[in-house]
Symmetry: D2
Subunit: 138 residues, 4 copies
């Protein structure tokens, strides 16, 4: 991997993502061609009245994680669009959790379609949400 | 329906949803027991670098729409959790679109599980995104 | 619609579908460009030990229904492949049900991707399963 | 694991699954509490006119694999029903493939809901289909 891929993905996140998505405060942890790891900090504005991380933040995170994961795969940004995103929620994330670890794996990247899987885990490794997604490469 | 169900759902949205989700600025348009209609204004902070409404805003909207749609079904808030949300994106939403219409239909509401469908359409009626979702009633 | 589209879809089902899928015994009920209706007879070999129509028959039906629905859209067979199929099961189908009605709607058909929705209902109109699906046109 | 769990799952497959599903000819390869491996032989009646394993056989396999995987988890059959199954198809399976390997992982098993993931791979290890599923325990 390019030594500067992490800062380039960080720049991409700040320049291309909508401000709504930037407000998630995602941090790029590590990047390989087919596996990118990010961290989602459980900030107060992401917590709902029930005292847990809102599912909407996880949905938005899954989608932007795949955009960044595909940028890692291609070594830079490429125009693309989400075709489909399926997310299953397995456990709540307590509000006092520091970060959720977001692992995006590129399962296949063809000429026109790319397939990925995004796992979100608690600090103890327990799976809280799992997404599978399809992207169209433009 | 109770005449005051629209203001009660609006209050619920402001009190229970995470600030991240409140920033979507959803408006409740009409409410029946099994069909709730909302409007998502295409505000600048929801638009990404490609000049269209970001998919993440639509994902977050689909999820909160079902929470509100189930509150309409039950005549008030009930604790629940998203089990699964699948969204397909059919068309981009140009940044100069005023609003996306969000229609949430409760397909079935049993003792422990509820099923819904959320359609998002452009002002000309074209479908831009469709979600199906399962909720666990607590 | 061509007057002979129903027999042509029936021929397609018998010639192109795998024998495993032909064993579902699907009947074409009516065909329009964007909505095709089929009937799935609840035959004994489709019923599992719990005394209800097996979900696997409904999954297989949803997938072939979209193939036939797209053939109706195009006025004939076109090579394609399933990208993704999501199915939610809302109610069991008792073994003594005569038929499940299968309604396939083409939600969008672009140059490379097609999107559809398949509803399955009991004779009393109750929804038993709902699928959303994405196909790649080859 | 009980030494006799493989034959017990085989018996379950033959006694509880619908004949339609038995016709898939699934073979139990190995069983652990949370990971069950099966093999789907690519038999002629599962191949469609395009000369590849039909997706419908993979959909049906994913669903029965989770039933068997949950029986492995519980050490025996338990009544349950599929809530939702999402499958993504990544590559075609050529008709001359001997077997598809089906790996079912139980991601979480709670009191009322169970979550699983089913991967299908070619003999060379390439992923051909991936499913995520939710079951309701009765």
């Amino acid at each position: 991997m390019d030594a500067d891929l992490v800062p380039r993905l960080e720049a991409l996140y700040k320049q291309v993502a909508a401000p709504f998505v930037q407000s998630l405060g995602l941090r790029i942890v590590s990047v390989e061609k087919d596996v990118s790891v990010m961290a989602l900090p459980v900030m107060p504005h992401l917590v709902h009245g029930g005292g847990v991380l809102c599912g909407q933040a996880m949905l938005a995170t899954a989608d932007i994680a795949m955009v960044l994961g595909l940028a890692a795969w291609f070594g830079g940004f490429r125009p693309m669009t989400t075709v489909q995103l399926q997310t299953t929620f397995l456990r709540p994330v307590p509000a006092d959790t520091a970060e959720v670890t977001v692992t995006c794996r590129i399962l296949r990247c063809g000429k026109t379609l790319a397939f990925g899987e995004i796992d979100m885990t608690l600090p103890d490794g327990k799976l809280v949400a799992q997404s599978t997604t399809t992207y169209a490469l433009l």
